[in-house]
């Protein structure tokens, strides 16, 4: 059996690309062939991901489309006669990008418009969360593959050093690093003058990074660090050294850093948006719609200072990581692809 994976875009630090490469590892272990192609390719992954124009599947090969953004050449894939599974990784609404990255906004707007059309044209549509799947009118969920064994050991219950707040995610308008910085500054002023904030993520563009760095320097000079391009070990060290993970993002389809924080035993405070409550379950402190940075700052004070609360969140977080163990996800993925590979009548009869 051959499964070709088609990505909207491929990048070195892109979660969707990492997911596709992890799937490729599984396919190889199962003895399945195929290649991975993308419409837009970062040169740093060019050795692993080929251009979409090079895709020439045989009639009985399967296509697994990871949809995460608009790409003009993707439409040609729909016209291929092969059976197709589409996994939606969600697309951020364009309204977050118009002011800060117009090209990204155009891509998001077109992508969100194109997605339902794609979902209708494939044999099976799924989402990495139920939130994503339901946007396509589907109930099929194939979550992000998160392997705690590869992430490294969890951190200590009370990391040494000054209170350290962490957020991991692309520096992008909808991720609201500005709100993270403001909440952190309120917390620092009122509760912990020596606190530190670590933001890990590459910015959507240089201008936006300058704006976020400017806000950090203006509000909390010397207390905020912005990093990107970390190795897996360095990222693990950031999690292990953190006392709390603060996510003020306004749109999330899944949010892998949430699972990473749970795995490393870091208490999580987050806005209740998109697929985030589904992934967090009861293991995170979720802000309500009207709760602003002032409430987030007080939650930071609670999770950093209350050891009983920290211990409970740590325990619940570990249970959420178990709920997203890789084995069931791998089984779901394999079952979906094997069912897709059945002759049409047979796949219907197996329900």
């Amino acid at each position: 059996m051959k499964v070709h994976q088609v990505l909207s875009g491929a990048g070195r630090y892109d979660a969707v690309t990492m997911q596709a490469l992890a799937f490729r590892g599984l396919f190889s272990a199962w003895g399945w062939g195929g290649r991975d192609v993308a419409a837009n390719i970062d040169p740093r992954v060019a050795a692993e991901i080929a251009p979409i124009s090079s895709l020439t599947p045989a009639a009985d090969d399967l296509l697994l489309i990871h949809y995460s953004g608009y790409a003009p050449r993707l439409r040609s894939v729909l016209e291929l006669p092969n059976r197709k599974l589409l996994i939606s990784h969600n697309i951020t609404p364009a309204r977050w990008f118009w002011d800060h990255d117009p090209m990204a906004a155009v891509s998001c707007a077109l992508g969100r418009k194109q997605l339902p059309e794609f979902a209708a044209a494939v044999d099976v549509a799924a989402g990495v969360s139920l939130f994503n799947a339901r946007e396509l009118g589907s109930e099929i969920v194939i979550p992000i593959l998160f392997d705690p064994a590869q992430a490294g050991a969890p951190g200590p219950p009370d990391p040494p050093g000054p209170p350290t707040i962490l957020f991991v995610g692309r520096i992008a308008p909808h991720k609201r690093q500005d709100a993270v910085i403001r909440a952190f500054e309120l917390y620092r002023r009122a509760h912990a003058p020596d606190a530190r904030l670590v933001l890990v993520g590459r910015s959507v563009n240089d201008t936006f990074e300058v704006a976020i760095r400017g806000l950090a320097d203006e509000l909390s000079p010397g207390a905020v660090t912005i990093e990107y391009g970390l190795t897996a070990e360095q990222l693990a060290a950031r999690y292990r050294g953190a006392h709390a993970f603060l996510c003020m993002s306004e749109h999330e389809g899944f949010c892998i850093p949430l699972l990473e924080a749970f795995h490393f035993g870091v208490p999580v405070i987050a806005r209740s948006v998109g697929g985030l409550p589904e992934v967090a379950g009861d293991a995170a402190l979720l802000l309500g719609e009207d709760d602003d940075e002032r409430v987030a700052a007080e939650l930071l004070a609670l999770v950093v200072g209350d050891s009983e609360l920290r211990a409970e969140l740590r325990e619940r977080g570990a249970r959420r990581v178990e709920a997203y163990a890789p084995e069931p996800t791998v089984r779901r993925l394999r079952a979906a692809l094997e069912e897709l590979n059945q002759p049409i009548g047979a796949s219907q009869s197996t329900g």
Partner: protein, 114 residues
Amino acid sequence: MKPEDALLAARAAAAERGDELPAGLCIEPTERVSIAQFVEWAAIEPDPASMRSTRRLGAPITFFKRQLLHVLRQYLRELEAQQTRFNLNVVARLAELEERVDSLEQRAGEREQR
């Protein structure tokens, strides 16, 4: 404290403290792009500084790319000018249509009131 009690406790503490939100950059979504914003975007001005290599040790490639921009500047300026002319004309036409729709809606509303 139990996690279920934390949010209420935090809300109460925040209300009691009564802090002002710190000033500075506050990102908000753009629900509808205004004509003024369209006009600003229509006159394209690509930043040559954004032309760079993303490869490791890409400095020589960045240098080469920027030299190429410099050499092609006459052609690129012509390209920008043509694209901007088209963009501005489309935006101007859009603004006219918007005004016309507003005026027609207003007249229709007045007629209904009579």
